[in-house]
Symmetry: C2
Subunit: 492 residues, 2 copies
Amino acid sequence: MGKNLTKRSEDYSKWYNELVVKADLAENSAVRGCMVIKPYGFAIWEKMQAELDKMFKETGHQNAYFPLFVPKSLFEAEEKNAEGFAKECAVVTHYRLKTDPDNPSKLIVDPNAKLEEELIVRPTSEAIIWSTYKGWIQSYRDLPLLINQWANVVRWEMRTRLFLRTAEFLWQEGHTAHATKQEAMEEAELMNNVYATFAENFLAVPVIKGLKTESERFAGADETFCIEALMQDGKALQAGTSHFLGQNFAKAFDVKFTTNQGKQDHVWATSWGVSTRLMGALIMTHSDDQGLVLPPNLAPYQVVIVPIYKGEEQLEAISQVANEIVDDLRLRGISVKYDNRDTHKPGWKFNEYELKGVPLRIGIGPKDLEKRTVELARRDTLTKEFVAKDAVVNRVALLLKEIQDNLFEKAKKYREDHYTTVDTFDEFKEILESKGGFISAHWDGTAGTEEKIKQLTKATIRCIPMDSILEDGKCVLTGAPSKQRVLFAKAY
Amino acid sequence: MGKNLTKRSEDYSKWYNELVVKADLAENSAVRGCMVIKPYGFAIWEKMQAELDKMFKETGHQNAYFPLFVPKSLFEAEEKNAEGFAKECAVVTHYRLKTDPDNPSKLIVDPNAKLEEELIVRPTSEAIIWSTYKGWIQSYRDLPLLINQWANVVRWEMRTRLFLRTAEFLWQEGHTAHATKQEAMEEAELMNNVYATFAENFLAVPVIKGLKTESERFAGADETFCIEALMQDGKALQAGTSHFLGQNFAKAFDVKFTTNQGKQDHVWATSWGVSTRLMGALIMTHSDDQGLVLPPNLAPYQVVIVPIYKGEEQLEAISQVANEIVDDLRLRGISVKYDNRDTHKPGWKFNEYELKGVPLRIGIGPKDLEKRTVELARRDTLTKEFVAKDAVVNRVALLLKEIQDNLFEKAKKYREDHYTTVDTFDEFKEILESKGGFISAHWDGTAGTEEKIKQLTKATIRCIPMDSILEDGKCVLTGAPSKQRVLFAKAY
């Protein structure tokens, strides 16, 4: 392979870092912890955005936009939320630069342009949004308020990794207001279900829906729903969260409404978000030692056509066939790129599109012209077949569906193979060391035990699964009584 | 009118400010100079985005994403650009908050978390992008590089107005790299033409394409193309700019490439952008004393249906007809809202949708049921007509097209009526005071005269129109020789 990609079995983490860069998805920037999302990576993110946006609108949400900055006094209003994010806040303190008197080609911060109140670059927008909602909500007629925002946020993380943990990242954040506790709770669960459907049907990433324990909840939430995916190294990745915020923000920002019985009550809230972290989940779920593997639903182009030729004349004849296929595929709504560049050889192109995870590759050479066939190569299985030229469009349509399904099934099988029910702590440790994955075990429900297990094994409680059955058991660490199993894993 | 909207003739500026808020487009936030874009306003912006994005992709551009922050040392690399924006920069100096030891419920900036190098919140992204392009461009094969970014930017303006001038705004910024000067210049003009086409065909806002004078150019550009629109108060508004950046940024960031002759050369650059300011242009071009007027291409819903009824039974009968019309319109790709809320009366709704600029309103009452008609009201002309129920879909489709065209023609006529060619400075001043608008006059080409005219009249040179004819003349102020007319106006 000309790709020089580290193998997953050698060093999974290195494989991931290399793949993100070599497949042209993203790279580190000149700003500590901030990434540049390159056009190929951004095209995938755009497809995620478009699908999620559609799903949000279908469930009655509207987009809006709120300021990037949060004045410190608003930021600290909801104390738990503020405390949770305080250590990661980028702070704007000045609003002007001036020429350095000692070096006229340089600039310095103008000490006379200090802000009266510092501005926090939003790490999340509950504070600025709830200070706004106060003006929007007076009556039950104004509810529910169902709003989403696509935005950039900043959390000053010390250890960053492309897509998985970056100081600035792109996300959407839904912020809804409701008249009743039940309605807000239902909304939070609904949006977690939307995320799960999106992850499974669109990203082909199987997820487990659950609730976070108190210590893993969003700062300021009363309950956090989540979807948890499993990566190929046996570590879990939190792919989305949806929070029931109770009346915490309504109380912090004094947002009351008149009920249909004429009483005054604080509003109930949710917030929910997924981010460019999903790119990490997508990459780590499906890709292999040859490079990226993309589900057809997300591929910037689903099919690439590479001509194999010597000389202008052959290229012309092949191009005629290729262009017919391009037209036919586009008519069927299939995205396709015909790479007829003369600056690169076919072998180089094959490598390139394998690395970039294009689901299907069509090769056309002089022999294919004679036989009226093309060579069709699947990225997911790396298998090839010859197909009659006239049958190619139908075959491509069928295969794209098959690849999408196959990727999901393969990932699901991996997860099922890495889901272990254990009853003793020895077993717990053994499984974690030998094969990793999700471990279903009883837990005594205390934060102390949760913390102790984390210290001993680095595994955390990923969630209390929504489909968890109530059963009597004993905590895997302390032996204290437990009413249901929870899901442990080492996590990103 | 229940709207209490100030009349344009009384106070145009107040009318605008009220309209933006009352039509639910945007409002000021708790952050000085930053706005909240409300769902109705954001839905219009989304339509602008979608159309522009399509036009950019059709002209070969790809989207990407670059960091929000620019390290000070990169920011100052291109000196003219840095100097131009230095006075408006929000600066991040710290990355952490901590609990205030004197008041444990409050937070303070942690003095131990001072950044080694300050970060500028991007006022524009040339610096961060060109520092990235250095790694992307080695050979002529890497060119042209045609990239666009949708992003938020911050310019610390002292006097702000919703959409027109805000500290944070949303925009797109294209940043392209080319092998030759000519190609870069052609790209800059091409994108200015894309903006013009978009403004005229989509926003129904007629624009004049031109070049900026040196003193009005973007900081760091060798040439700035622009589109200039005329508002109903006779003031011009710059609606988009496209810059030929020469090799300024390539030199500042040392971006060289190997030409196809094997030589090393600096890359040629363009950048171009439009922003949420377009919302201001849209509002001020078409709206009237009754409220917003939206071109059908941009309306979040093009048609609203309001039932006029007494009692459940009538509502049910009307709803049956309304829902048939809704289905039929949607089949034709026309967006429609059926407002059957029982919390508001028809008169209230009529007012509301007039204020919000919905292009067509369908009213259905009990008499309409008998006659199998509906009442169709146009927002642009405020005229009404009765239409047979079975003819309504065709009529709506026709009227939507007519409204789109009519708005453009009306705005164009206004501009033509407010475009005056003058040859003396007395006339210049007289026209500016009496009716405003664009004034075509000779100018001696010096920055001194330009500045003097601005001081005397507040009018600036909006552009040197692309279609300006070369002719001998005398400067309207100094009488010095001039080779072509330029366009003056007071401007936003």
